[in-house]
């Protein structure tokens, strides 16, 4: 359970970090290392150079403004937990509720937003939240900066559009109106374990009290975090009640094609995902 040998660099600037990643094939960035080090310890990967981001300035800020929220790539779960700005009614309540489910106490002191997004575990909360919340990722590489929508960022299990020389700088979330209805439900055998399935749902309401702009995001029951347009269509333009919720859940289950593994069969995951969506929608109604 020891990693293969690698070189180690601690650049002082983002430009230096990008140059190192660009110059060395087999280089990988490391920050908290809570996803990367298990991979290395199992020898599932063997990078030849680790570029430690610890000295890079300005990547650990949480900014909550009227126009939206920005999370620096090095923001840790602990920082989100402790942020009064995020927890406020003008903050990001769905994000805060979901992050409470991430990992365990010791991991939360080191694990980062950028690390979780770059690692792209389909059962992790942050990738699911990024998709469900219409996040945009600001990324930098040798060719300069670019912005990627979360919905375009994840390409499969543990796969993203990040080039080998690229770093995530920050995550931008749209502003969250206080009147928005939302719910987050996740099932794992132990709290903090990877989700067998989870749902992040939200919608706004029009003057008649009908749902609009519904977002139904799924975690852990697919090869990557996804929104479920069929479930969203079953909600939009309608007042939420047991019938519309059941229709949304049925649409969600029909759209999902989860994997079977030692933790759960595909059928179980599909059923569980539907239940998570149902509970999340009921929680949104009760809010």
């Amino acid at each position: 359970m020891k990693p293969a040998a690698f070189d180690y660099a601690v650049p002082a600037t983002i430009a230096e970090a990008v140059a190192l990643l660009a110059r060395h094939e087999g280089a990988k960035p490391i920050s908290g290392g809570q996803s990367l080090m298990p991979v290395l310890n199992f020898r599932l990967a063997a990078p030849t150079l680790l570029v430690d981001l610890r000295h890079l300035p300005d990547l650990d800020r949480i900014v909550v403004e009227a126009g939206g929220t920005r999370l620096g790539a090095k923001v840790r779960w602990r920082d989100i937990e402790k942020s009064s700005a995020l927890a406020a009614v003008t903050g990001q309540p769905l994000l805060c509720a979901a992050i409470a489910h991430v990992a365990h106490y010791q991991i939360r002191n080191r694990g980062t937003v950028g690390g979780s997004l770059a690692h792209a575990d389909p059962a992790a909360e942050m990738p699911g939240l990024a998709v469900a919340l219409d996040a945009r990722l600001r990324i930098i590489g040798a060719k300069g900066e670019r912005m990627v929508e979360a919905g375009e960022f994840f390409t499969g299990p543990l796969s993203t559009v990040l080039e080998p020389d690229e770093l995530i700088l920050e995550v931008l979330l749209p502003a969250w109106p206080a009147s928005r209805r939302w719910g987050f439900e996740e099932f794992a055998r132990r709290r903090g374990d990877f989700a067998l399935a989870g749902a992040a749902v939200w919608f706004d309401t029009d003057a008649a009290g009908c749902a609009q702009n519904a977002h139904v995001g799924i975690i852990g029951a697919s090869d990557r975090p996804r929104r479920l347009p069929g479930a969203e269509m079953a909600l939009n333009g309608k007042a939420l009640d047991a019938v519309t919720i059941a229709a949304a859940v049925a649409a969600a289950r029909a759209a999902l094609d989860p994997m079977s593994d030692i933790h759960a069969s595909a059928d179980y995951r599909r059923a569980l995902a539907g239940t998570m969506i149902e509970r999340a929608l009921k929680a949104a109604l009760a809010r």
Binding site: P3, Q34, H104, R191
Partner: protein
């Protein structure tokens, strides 16, 4: 790669491969074997140490990443004169049997109680959920940590660490 940091209040300098974990460095270079290794992939908590006051998994931390930091191991949470409040509470409640998980439980509990001496049983359970024990069934550990709160509250009132 030469690396300088502080362990249990003492400055240390080691020269280790970048791939060496902080856990292995503490155990093999610094001969502080109180920190235990079990899973080596971040799920069991036996390797927990404090880095700048925060509980971390030392199997997922590189020794070279400890550069400039203050590390505290289970050895640093006791002295030979008397049992610490956590040690005394663990003893009173039979919160250890084989002792393998115990250093990780103690360091994690110390971090929690230092920051949240008013935590309740649910919070203790939540925080210790990242530490596995095969012997005790966890209940005596929870009770011991809850009992130790009194000492941490008193230390807070006195402006202690």
């Amino acid at each position: 790669m030469p690396t300088k940091f502080e362990v249990n209040g003492k400055a240390v300098e080691v020269d280790v491969e970048p791939r060496m974990s902080l856990a292995d460095c503490l155990r093999h270079e610094l001969h502080l074997t109180g920190t235990h290794l079990a899973c080596e992939h971040g799920v069991c908590g036996a390797c927990t140490v404090l880095v700048d006051g925060e509980a971390v998994r030392s199997c997922l931390t590189l020794a070279v990443q400890a550069e400039g930091r203050k590390v505290v191991t289970v050895e640093g949470l006791s002295d030979d004169a008397a049992l610490s409040p956590l040690q005394a509470a663990f003893r009173r409640h039979n919160a250890l049997q084989c002792g393998f998980c115990t250093p990780g439980m103690i360091t994690t509990a110390h971090a929690l109680l230092t920051e949240e001496p008013d935590c309740d049983a649910d919070r203790v359970r939540e925080v210790l959920s990242g530490n596995l024990c095969r012997c005790t069934g966890y209940i005596p550990i929870i009770e011991a940590v809850l009992e130790a709160r009194a000492a941490y509250r008193a230390a807070r009132i006195q402006g202690g660490r």
